[in-house]
C-alpha cells in the first residue's frame, strides 16, 4: 500500500465530491462570497448548538448528572454521522464518475477504497466541527475539566465518527452490489433533499416548542432520554468507553477506554476493506455498464 497514492487520491475524491454541490465558478468574488456564507452558517449553527448545550449541561451539573449529557451527545453525533453518511457514501462511492478514470491507473482496489472512505470521513469531520466541538468545549468549561479531558475529547472527535461511517459504508456497499440505483440518480437526490427539508422543519418545530418548556421539564426529559442511551450501549459498543474516557480523571483509564474504541474501529475497518474488495467494484463497475446500456 502506497500512502502517497492514498493521500493524492483522497484529495482528488474530496474535490470531486464537492463538484456537484458547488457552483461552477472560478471567480474570486464568488469564492469570497461562498466563504462568508459558510462562515455565517457555521457561526449561526454553532451558536444555536452552544446555547442548547449550555442550558442542558448547566442543568445537569446542578443535579450532578453531567455525564448523562455525554451519552446523549455521542448518540446524537453517531446518528447524525450515520444519516449524513448514507448520502455521502452513495455519492462518493457510486454516483461520482471518477471511478472510470481511476480504474486504468496503477492503484490497488484497497487504495481506492481507503481514499474514497477518507474523502467521506473528512467531510464528516467538517460537519463535526459544528455539532461536536462546541458542546464538548462547553461541557469542559462547565465541569471545570482538566487538560486530560480536552486531549481525550480531541482524540474522540477524530476516532468516534469512524465506526458509524464504516457501518453505513458496509451496508451501502452490500445494497449497491445488487441494487440498480444509478439510473435513478436524480430521483435519489430529490428524495434525499426532501428528507433533509422534512428533518430541518421537524427540528425547527421541535426546538421552537422547547422555548415553552421549563429547565426542570427539560432535565426530566433528558434523564428519560438517558434510558435510551443505556438501552443502546449494549449494541453500540463504543458508546460506554467513550463516556468513560471523557469522565475519567485517570490517564490510564482514559487510555484503556480509548484503546477499546480504537480496537473495535480497527476491526470494523478491516471488515469494511474485505467486504469492499469483494463487493464494491462489482457494484461500481455494474453501474458503469448500466450507464453504458
Amino acid at each position: 500500500m502506497n500512502f502517497k497514492k492514498i493521500t493524492s487520491l483522497t484529495k482528488v475524491f474530496l474535490k470531486n465530491s464537492f463538484q456537484n454541490t458547488q457552483t461552477a465558478s472560478n471567480k474570486k468574488s464568488s469564492k469570497v462570497g461562498n466563504t462568508i456564507l459558510y462562515l455565517f452558517v457555521f457561526i449561526y449553527l454553532g451558536a444555536i448548538i452552544g446555547f442548547f448545550s449550555y442550558n442542558i449541561i448547566s442543568g445537569l451539573v446542578q443535579i450532578h448528572q453531567e455525564a448523562v449529557f455525554l451519552g446523549l451527545f455521542f448518540l446524537i453525533v453517531a446518528a447524525f454521522i450515520a444519516f449524513q453518511g448514507i448520502f455521502s457514501c452513495i455519492n462518493v462511492f457510486y454516483f461520482s464518475k471518477d471511478i472510470e478514470f481511476v480504474l486504468p491507473l496503477p492503484v490497488s482496489a484497497k487504495e481506492i477504497l481507503i481514499s474514497k472512505f477518507n474523502a467521506i470521513l473528512i467531510t464528516e469531520y467538517m460537519m463535526e466541527l459544528i455539532i461536536g466541538v462546541v458542546p464538548l468545549i462547553i461541557y469542559g468549561v462547565l465541569t471545570s475539566a482538566g487538560i486530560l479531558y480536552y486531549i481525550t475529547a480531541a482524540i474522540f472527535l477524530l476516532i468516534f465518527p469512524i465506526l458509524p461511517l464504516l457501518l453505513v459504508s458496509i451496508i451501502v456497499t452490500i445494497i449497491m452490489s445488487f441494487a440498480k440505483l444509478t439510473k435513478k440518480r436524480d430521483t435519489f437526490q430529490l428524495i434525499a433533499t426532501i428528507i433533509v427539508i422534512v428533518i430541518a422543519v421537524a427540528v425547527s418545530t421541535a426546538t421552537s416548542n422547547t422555548e415553552e418548556v421549563t429547565d426542570e421539564q427539560m432535565i426530566q426529559s433528558i434523564m428519560q432520554a438517558n434510558g435510551m442511551v443505556t438501552m443502546v450501549e449494549d449494541y453500540f459498543i463504543t458508546l460506554r468507553p467513550a463516556i468513560n474516557a471523557l469522565t475519567s480523571t485517570s490517564a490510564v483509564t482514559a487510555i484503556i477506554e480509548t484503546l477499546k474504541v480504537v480496537a473495535v474501529t480497527a476491526l470494523s475497518y478491516i471488515v469494511f476493506i474485505l467486504i469492499g474488495q469483494k463487493l464494491y467494484f462489482k457494484g461500481a463497475i455494474g453501474n458503469l455498464i448500466r450507464t453504458e446500456l
Binding site: 493524492s8 463538484q19 458547488q22 478514470f101 491507473l105 496503477p106 463497475i285 446500456l293
Partner: protein, 241 residues
C-alpha cells in the same frame, strides 16, 4: 505489445458486445481500431485498460496479464479516454501532479516533463485554472499531457483527435509516429478514416463485436478491389453498403 486473446464480453445475457476477439498490436506499430457506433470499440478498450473484465479470454500488455497482475500491467500503458471531462474541479497543475504521484514520478523529472509537454501543447498558461474552465480541446490536451508524463511504452487512445485544433492534432500525430518509431506501441480508435489511412501501420475493423478485418491499408484495398474511396471500403467491410 498488446495481445488480445479470444476475449468476449456480454452486458446483457445472450448478446455479446465483443465476441471472441483476437488481436496483436506489435511493438513499433501504430494500430488504428475502426468500427461503426456500438460495434464494440470502447468496450474492447475498456477491457484492455482494466475498467471492465472480459467474460472470457485474457489481455496481455508487454506479456503481463491485465487480469492477473493489474497493477503491473497498468504501469505499462497510458490511456486517453474518449471523454476528457474528468476531475473538473482540479486545477491543471493539480491534475498533472496527481498523475505524477500515482505513477511515482520523482519531483525533478515531473517538473521538467510538465514544463516540456505543456509548452508543446500550449497549455502552460492554463495550469493554474480549474479544468472545468477549459475548452473541450484544452481538456483533451491536459489528459494527453497527463498520459505522456509517465512516458509509457504503450499508448491507448480512444478517439484522441476529437476536439483538437489542427496544430495540436498534427503535433499528436507526430508524437504518435515518433513513439512508434522508437519501438513502442500506439493503439487508437477513430472515426476519421483518413487519419487511419495516413497514420496507421495496420488497421483493425470491428463490427457487431467481431473483428472483420485486420491488416495494412494496402491489404484492405487489395481485398476489396473496385471500391474507390475509403468510405466505400469501410461500408463494404461493415456490411453497411
Amino acid at each position: 505489445m498488446i495481445q488480445i486473446n479470444n476475449i468476449t464480453k456480454s452486458y446483457v445475457k445472450g448478446k455479446k458486445s465483443v465476441d471472441g476477439l483476437n488481436m496483436e498490436i506489435r511493438d513499433g506499430e501504430i494500430f488504428g481500431f475502426l468500427g461503426p457506433n456500438g460495434a464494440g470499440k470502447t468496450t474492447t478498450i475498456k477491457m484492455i485498460t482494466g475498467i471492465l473484465n472480459p467474460d472470457e479470454g485474457d489481455i496481455l500488455i508487454d506479456n503481463v496479464s491485465i487480469q492477473k497482475s493489474p497493477l503491473e500491467a497498468k504501469k505499462k500503458f497510458g490511456f486517453v479516454p474518449d471523454s476528457p471531462d474528468m476531475f473538473l474541479r482540479l486545477k491543471g497543475i493539480e491534475y498533472l501532479n496527481f498523475l505524477a504521484d500515482i505513477y511515482e514520478i520523482p519531483s525533478d523529472v515531473r517538473k521538467q516533463r510538465i514544463e516540456e509537454l505543456t509548452k508543446k501543447f500550449e497549455i502552460q498558461d492554463a495550469l493554474q485554472s480549474q479544468i472545468q474552465t477549459y475548452s473541450h480541446g484544452m481538456r483533451q490536451k491536459i489528459v494527453i499531457v497527463g498520459v505522456l508524463l509517465n512516458n509509457p511504452k504503450n499508448w491507448i487512445l480512444d478517439e484522441p483527435m476529437t476536439g483538437l485544433d489542427p496544430k495540436s492534432s498534427f503535433d499528436l500525430k507526430e508524437m504518435m509516429r515518433k513513439h512508434s518509431k522508437e519501438g513502442n506501441t500506439v493503439f487508437f480508435s477513430t472515426h476519421v478514416l483518413e487519419v487511419a489511412e495516413k497514420l496507421c501501420d495496420r488497421i483493425g475493423i470491428i463490427n457487431k463485436g467481431k473483428l472483420v478485418f485486420v491488416g495494412t491499408y494496402e491489404e484492405m484495398k487489395e481485398k476489396f478491389k473496385g471500391k474507390e474511396t475509403l468510405e466505400e471500403l469501410f461500408l463494404e467491410i461493415t456490411d453497411e453498403l
